[in-house]
C-alpha cells in the first residue's frame, strides 16, 4: 500500500496563474468589446451587458475560473477527477457486436421513444404543453427511432426485431402526419419546420459521407445544395422540367459537379480540398448573384411545386388540361396539401437515403472510405486507388446535397443566392461534427436539434454562430469523434 501524501495547496501559484490568465483575457477581449467604434470617435462602455460582450467582466470570470481550477486540481478529489477525465477515448473504429442487435438493445430506444411520445401527449392533454408542438415532437421521436432501425444492419442468418419494427414505423411515419393534420394538430408552420429539419438531415447525411466517413473536409457543401435548387428553378424556367424530373436529374448533375471539382484536388494533400471547396462555394454564390440575365441575380428565381401524377397543388391548375389536386379528389382547397405532400415524399427519400448509406458502409466502397480516413498510406500500399475512392465519396455527398436542394426549392417556391452562403455550409458542418463524424443516428439527431432549436429559442438568434464556433472548438478538444461514437457494421464470413 502506498501512503497518500497530502501536499499543501499552493495558493500563491494559483493566484499568479489566475492573474496572468485574467490580464491576457482582458488584453485580448477588452479593446474589441469595451471600446465601441463610432465613426472616428469611440465610446467606452466599461459596464456593458450582457456579460458575453464585456471583456472586463469576462476577464474577471476567466481569472476566477482559473483560480478555482488551479486550486481544485491540487485537492485529492480534483486529482481523481483529472485522472478520470484526462484519459482520452480510444481512437480508431469500433465494431458492432452481436449483442448490438439483441431484442433487448433494440427495444431500448423504442421504449424510450414511446415513453417520450406518451409523455408529450399526456402533457399536452393537461394543457402543460402546446398540442401542436407535442404532435411535431412525436413525429420527430418516431423519425429518430426509425433512423436507428434503418441504420442498423442485420447479420446473415440472424433475426432482428427491426425487421418487423421498421416497416411498422415507416407506415406510422406516413400515416400519422395525415391524421395529425386532419385533427388540426399539424398546421402549415410545423409542417414547414419539419420539412426544413428533414432537408438538413439529408444535407447532414450527405456531408457525413464526405467528412465523417471519407475524412475529407468540404467547406463548400452548400454549392451542391445550390446546384440542386437552381436546377429545379432554372430548369423549370427554361426547359419546362418539373419536380420529379429534377429529383432524378439534379443528383446526377450535382455528382458531376462534384467530380469535376474533386478530381484535380483530391489527388493532393487533403487539406487543400477544404480551401478549394470553400472557394467553390463562394464562386457559385457570386455567379448566381452576378449573372443577372440567367439566374435573376439577387432577386432569385421562382421554383415550381410538386405534382402527384400530373395533379397540381395550386388553387387553380397552371398547365392546360390539368386539374388541381383538391378538385380531383373533391376536397376543399388548402395550402397544407402541398406541404404535406412534400413532407411525405421527403420522408420517404430520407428514409431510403439512410438505408442506402447504411448498406453502402457495409460494402467494399464504404469500408474503403473509412480505411482511407484512418490511414491513407496503408490503404494505398494495399492497392486501394485513393483518388477514385475519395472521388466516389465526394460525388455521393454532392448527390445527396443536390437532392436536398430540389426539395428546398420546391418547398420555398423560390430560390435566391442568400440561401446558399458560407454560413449554410458551416451549419451543415456543425451538424456533422456535433452528431459524431460517421454516425448516422448522431447526424439525424444533431440536424433535428440544430434546426428546430432556434425555432424554440428565438432570443438567442444573435449568438447562434458564436455558439457554433465555440462548440466546434470544444468538441474537437473534448470529443473529436462526436457525441455518439460511430459503430462499424460487423462482417461475418459465410459459415462462421
Amino acid at each position: 500500500m502506498r501512503a497518500k501524501v497530502h501536499e499543501p495547496i499552493d495558493f500563491g501559484h494559483a493566484l499568479r496563474d489566475a492573474l496572468v490568465t485574467g490580464v491576457l483575457t482582458l488584453l485580448v477581449l477588452g479593446p474589441v468589446t469595451n471600446l465601441v467604434l463610432d465613426g472616428y470617435a469611440i465610446t467606452a462602455e466599461l459596464l456593458r451587458g450582457p456579460l458575453i460582450v464585456n471583456g472586463i467582466g469576462l476577464a474577471l470570470v476567466v481569472a476566477l475560473g482559473r483560480f478555482v481550477v488551479a486550486v481544485g486540481v491540487q485537492t485529492p478529489a480534483g486529482r481523481d477527477l483529472l485522472t478520470r477525465f484526462g484519459q482520452k477515448g480510444a481512437h480508431g473504429v469500433t465494431v458492432e457486436t452481436a449483442a448490438d442487435n439483441d431484442w433487448h438493445r433494440v427495444l431500448r430506444p423504442l421504449v424510450i421513444g414511446g415513453a417520450l411520445s406518451l409523455l408529450l401527449l399526456v402533457l399536452s392533454r393537461f394543457g402543460l404543453m402546446d398540442v401542436q408542438r407535442a404532435a411535431a415532437l412525436v413525429l420527430i421521436v418516431l423519425f429518430v427511432v426509425l433512423g436507428q432501425g434503418l441504420g442498423s444492419l442485420r447479420r446473415r442468418g440472424q433475426s432482428s426485431p427491426w425487421r418487423i419494427l421498421v416497416p411498422l414505423l415507416f407506415v406510422a411515419g406516413l400515416v400519422l402526419p395525415l391524421l395529425f393534420n386532419a385533427w388540426g394538430l399539424f398546421p402549415k408552420t410545423w409542417i414547414g419546420n419539419l420539412i426544413l429539419a428533414l432537408i438538413y438531415v439529408l444535407l447532414g447525411l450527405g456531408l457525413n459521407i464526405v467528412v465523417g466517413l471519407a475524412g475529407l473536409l468540404d467547406l463548400g457543401f452548400v454549392a451542391f445544395y445550390a446546384v440542386g435548387a437552381y436546377f429545379l428553378a432554372l430548369g423549370a424556367q427554361y426547359f419546362g422540367i418539373g419536380f420529379w424530373t429534377a429529383l432524378l436529374c439534379a443528383p446526377i448533375l450535382a455528382a458531376c459537379c462534384g467530380a469535376v471539382l474533386g478530381f484535380p484536388v483530391l489527388r493532393m494533400h487533403g487539406d487543400y480540398l477544404a480551401i478549394v471547396t470553400l472557394g467553390f462555394g463562394e464562386i457559385i454564390r457570386l455567379i448566381l448573384n452576378n449573372w443577372l440575365e440567367v439566374t435573376g441575380g439577387p432577386n432569385g428565381a421562382p421554383a415550381p411545386g410538386p405534382s402527384l401524377f400530373g395533379l397540381e397543388f395550386g388553387r387553380v391548375a397552371r398547365g392546360e388540361g390539368n386539374t388541381p389536386f383538391h378538385e380531383f379528389f373533391g376536397l376543399e382547397y388548402s395550402a397544407d396539401y402541398k406541404f404535406l405532400f412534400i413532407y411525405l415524399v421527403l420522408f420517404v427519400v430520407v428514409a431510403a437515403m439512410i438505408r442506402f448509406i447504411t448498406r453502402l458502409r457495409a460494402m467494399p466502397m464504404g469500408r474503403a472510405w473509412e480505411a482511407l480516413r484512418e490511414d491513407e498510406i496503408a490503404c494505398r500500399s494495399l492497392g486501394i486507388n485513393h483518388v477514385v475512392v475519395k472521388l466516389t465519396a465526394f460525388m455521393m455527398g454532392a448527390m445527396t446535397g443536390g437532392i436536398a436542394g430540389v426539395f428546398f426549392a420546391t418547398y420555398q417556391g423560390f430560390v435566391n443566392p442568400t440561401s446558399f452562403n458560407f454560413f449554410e455550409s458551416v451549419l451543415i458542418l456543425a451538424i456533422v461534427v456535433l452528431g459524431g463524424m460517421g454516425s448516422t443516428l448522431g447526424v439525424i439527431i444533431a440536424a433535428l436539434v440544430l434546426t428546430l432549436l432556434p425555432e424554440v429559442l428565438r432570443d438567442f438568434a444573435d449568438y447562434r454562430v458564436l455558439l457554433f464556433g465555440a462548440l466546434m472548438v470544444l468538441m474537437m478538444i473534448w470529443r473529436p469523434r462526436g457525441l455518439i461514437r460511430p459503430k462499424r457494421p460487423a462482417f461475418a464470413p459465410k459459415g462462421a
Binding site: 485580448v28 474589441v32 480551401i275 464556433g469 472548438v473 474537437m476 478538444i477 473529436p480
Partner: protein, 305 residues
C-alpha cells in the same frame, strides 16, 4: 491599349499584392511548421483592422495630432495586440489537438474563424466602419488626361511590406531563434530531442503570422479607410491562394505569390471585368493546384510514413 491604365493597374496590383504577401506569410509559416491550414488567419487580419481603428480613435481622444507619431503608436499597439491574438488562438484551439485526428485542427480553426467574426459583429456592430484619410497626396507621372499616379499611402505600403519581409528574412535566416524555427519545420521530433522548445517555437510562428497580418491590416485600413467584420473571409482565401502560388511553406514564395496574384487580379479587373475578380483569383488557385501543386518556389511534397 491605354498605357496609363496599364501602368496604374500595375501600381495598384503591386500594392494589393504586397498586402496579400504579408497575410500569406501567416499561412505559409504555420503550414510549414505544423502542416495545417490556419483558417482563422483571415479573421485575425480582420480583427487587426478593428484594433487599428480603435487604437487610432483612442490616440485621437488623447489629442495626439502628429500623424507620424500617431501612426507609429497605432502600428506598435496593433501589432502587439494582434500578436497576442495569434498566441491565444494557438494556445486555446490548436495546442490541445496535437496528435488528435487529422481533421480536428481544421474544424477547430473553422470554429475560431466563426467565433472571431461573430464576436466582432456582436460587440462592434455589423455596420461598415471607417477611419479618415490620414496620409494625403500623390506623385503623378505624365500630364493632362493620361497620367499614372501613385499615392503616398501606396508608397508607404510598398516600403513597409518590403521592410517587414527583409526583417523576417533576417529573423528566420540569421538569428538563433530562426534556426530553431527551421529545425522544427524540418523535423519536429528531432528538434525536440536536441533541446528545442517546440511548443514555444510553434507559438512564436503563430505570433509572427498574426503580427504580419496586423501590419497588413493597418496598411490596408490606411489605404481604403473602411472595413467590416466580413473582410477577413475573402482576403484570407486570396492570401492563401498567394501562399499556394508561391509554394506553401516558402517565405519568399509567399511574397512572390502575393505580388503575382495582386498584379493578375488588378489587371483582370482593369481590363476584363470587376464583378468576377474574386472568381478569377479562385480560378488561379485551382489552376496552380492542378498544374503545379508545389507552387513556384516550393519543394514537392514528400509523404513520410
Amino acid at each position: 491599349m491605354d498605357w496609363h491604365i496599364l501602368g496604374q493597374q500595375i501600381i495598384n496590383g503591386l500594392t494589393l499584392g504586397s498586402i496579400y504577401g504579408l497575410i500569406a506569410i501567416g499561412y505559409t509559416m504555420v503550414y510549414g511548421i505544423i502542416g495545417m491550414i490556419n483558417f482563422a488567419h483571415g479573421d485575425v487580419y480582420m480583427v487587426s483592422a478593428y484594433l487599428m481603428a480603435i487604437t487610432l480613435a483612442v490616440i485621437h481622444f488623447f489629442g495626439i495630432d502628429s500623424v507620424f507619431f500617431a501612426l507609429l503608436l497605432t502600428l506598435a499597439v496593433t501589432m502587439a495586440l494582434t500578436g497576442l491574438y495569434g498566441w491565444s488562438i494557438e494556445r486555446v484551439a490548436y495546442r490541445p489537438l496535437r496528435g488528435s485526428t487529422r481533421l480536428a485542427p481544421l474544424i477547430s480553426a473553422i470554429g475560431i474563424s466563426l467565433l472571431l467574426q461573430n464576436y466582432v459583429q456582436i460587440s462592434q456592430g455589423a455596420r461598415v466602419q471607417g477611419i479618415p484619410t490620414l496620409i494625403e497626396g500623390t506623385i503623378r507621372f505624365g500630364s493632362g488626361e493620361d497620367f499614372v499616379q501613385i499615392k503616398y499611402v501606396q508608397v508607404l505600403i510598398l516600403v513597409a511590406s518590403l521592410a517587414c519581409m527583409a526583417g523576417l528574412s533576417w529573423l528566420i535566416g540569421g538569428t538563433n531563434l530562426g534556426r530553431q524555427c527551421r529545425a522544427v519545420q524540418q523535423d519536429r521530433k528531432m528538434a525536440a530531442i536536441l533541446g528545442v522548445n517546440t511548443d514555444r517555437i510553434i507559438s512564436l510562428v503563430f505570433v509572427i503570422g498574426a503580427v504580419m497580418a496586423a501590419v497588413a491590416g493597418v496598411l490596408v485600413t490606411l489605404n481604403y479607410g473602411s472595413f467590416d467584420f466580413y473582410v477577413g473571409f475573402v482576403t484570407g482565401i486570396k492570401a492563401f491562394t498567394a501562399a499556394v502560388l508561391g509554394g506553401i511553406g516558402s517565405l519568399p514564395g509567399a511574397m512572390l505569390g502575393g505580388l503575382i496574384l495582386g498584379l493578375l487580379e488588378s489587371l483582370f479587373s482593369g481590363f476584363v471585368n470587376t464583378d468576377y475578380k474574386d472568381v478569377f483569383s479562385f480560378a488561379v488557385l485551382v489552376g496552380v493546384l492542378i498544374f503545379k501543386p508545389s507552387g513556384l518556389l516550393g519543394r514537392p511534397e514528400v509523404e513520410k510514413v
